[in-house]
Amino acid sequence: MDEANVARRGLSPRLWLAGGWLLLALLAAIFAPLIAPQDPLAQDLMLERLPPFWLDGAEPGYWLGTDSLGRDLLSRLIFGGRIAFIVAFAAATSACLLGSALGLIAGYFGGWPDRIISRIVDVWMAFPPVLFAILLVAVLGTGLSSVILAIAIIDWTRFCRVIRAEAMSQARMDYVESARIAGYGRVGIMLREVLPNVLPSVVALLSLEMGIAVIVEAILSFVNLSISTDDPTWGSIIAEGRLSIHQAWWVLVFPLITLILTVLSFTQFGEALKARFDPVLR
């Protein structure tokens, strides 16, 4: 029993690999102006569709090649990461706060708060999320804050459902009754006894949600509904890359790899974090 504990508390390679990639991508995004080798918006038709560095015809300074307008792909990916991370953190955190709070209340208090919240969740989940997002952005107008708001409005139910179920099972524990005997009020019990026990799930979901937010943002960019203007985003790069797949495969492949690695890292990081904190629960 104790051995198993120690083993699971060990630092898993999963945690390191996923965390490492996320840290790298995050730092690159934060320091983009310092790191990016080129101006991501600078067009130069003389340099269009340059291949990545290991192929014939590559130019030094354009490591991953250029797109059909001669813009440096690596720089665009790095700057696109800024949008991705801003959306990931802001949207996932908002969805998490809203959903977890409602889930906690519904699960712990039960009764009419639970009935109301659960109904809303049921109705919400009847909409296909991507369609819902496109609809929302169409209504709210494009732009960074609309995208964030849309994701939060759609995805809070994911938190709400899971946290409600966990809070319900926590509410049946004797330590909840014990806290009543100790003299705690309902809100006090919720925060002191229930919340700490659902936190690992909140953290895991939050990380998962960041990955989802990155994908949703990419999808919205892909259909040209995200941040308008020329700011590069991973989704818009993929959309452009798709058009020139036969002439310049790298414009599609590198942003796809970046996107997949990031999303996978978010989900794996969340799972690893949860496993790391969970042994206490046994």
Partner: protein, 274 residues
């Protein structure tokens, strides 16, 4: 004659019956306790015995007002507490404590033992003397002081139940419900926990409602016994009288069903139908 600590009259408790809950709407109420009358004398240990479905645990929870009775009265030190609201109950909580059956469920895995024992102290205005009082509580139940920084999963079953006792007694309450506190433990540990409770109850002058399905344990610990069946009291009397001269058939059946650790070839023979 001293006034009893608890004086219970016509106590009824009804709870939602989830097995009969319709698809929509509320579950119908099922009456778990069907009118109980009894007194708990100050400083006594009373055994409450019954099989599953007898309502003994519900009774324990009603006495410390984790449940609200649907009818009847609970007099605690002459004061009627069966209708008090959660807020009105708060000042009484320090005197009405409970030790739970399963310490896995009653100790929060995310809190240290210190925080678990300190919770009732904090809520009852003793926040400034936490260290001293928690240390005293640990010592009282025979746990080393360094256990304060540990978590539930680092303790054995018997140690966990000691923590449960320490928490319940930290405030020096007047009354404690002990709800099947040894049924999940091995016999060797069970004996330790029971002798500990026996000793502490005597030292602290506690009034204890000792809920158990095991009459053997009750005989050792309790001065009086209440035998329950299906929400009613079958028989209530002083311990020795009950064991030496049980009046009700049900009590006699319960006693006869206990397998004592001694060879008795007749025990499993079918009863001669009288």
């Amino acid at each position: 004659m001293a006034e009893p600590l608890f004086s219970v009259r016509g106590l009824k408790v009804a709870l939602p019956d989830m097995t009969r809950k319709p698809l929509v709407g509320r579950a119908p109420l099922a009456e778990i306790l069907k009118g109980l009358d009894f007194d708990l004398p100050k400083g006594s240990v009373t055994g409450i015995v019954g099989e599953s479905g007898s309502g003994k645990s519900t009774l324990g929870r009603a006495l410390v007002r984790l449940l609200e009775p649907s009818a009847g009265s609970i007099g605690f030190e002459g004061r009627e507490i069966s209708r008090l609201s959660e807020t009105e109950l708060r000042p009484l909580r320090r005197d009405l404590q409970m030790i739970f059956q399963d310490p896995m469920s009653s100790l929060n895995p995310r809190h240290t033992i210190f925080n678990i024992i300190a919770a009732p102290l904090r809520q009852n205005g003793l926040g400034d003397r936490l260290k001293e009082l928690v240390a005293e509580a640990l010592q009282r139940v025979g746990l080393p002081q360094n256990f304060a920084s540990r978590y539930r999963h680092e303790l054995s079953g018997g140690q966990r139940q000691r923590v449960g006792i320490a928490r319940a007694l930290a405030l020096s309450p007047k009354f404690v419900v002990a709800d099947e506190i040894v049924s999940g433990l091995d016999v060797s540990t069970q004996a330790q926990i029971l002798t500990l409770l026996e000793k502490l109850a005597a030292e602290m002058g506690l009034t204890v409602a000792f809920i158990s399905h095991d009459l053997s344990v009750i005989r050792r610990l309790c001065q009086q016994v209440i035998v329950m069946r299906e929400g009613r009291i079958v028989e209530a009397s002083a311990t020795d009288a009950l064991f030496d001269n049980p009046k009700e058939t049900y009590t006699r059946d319960l006693l006869a069903a206990i397998p004592l650790p001694e060879i008795d070839p007749d025990w499993l023979r079918p009863k001669a139908s009288a």
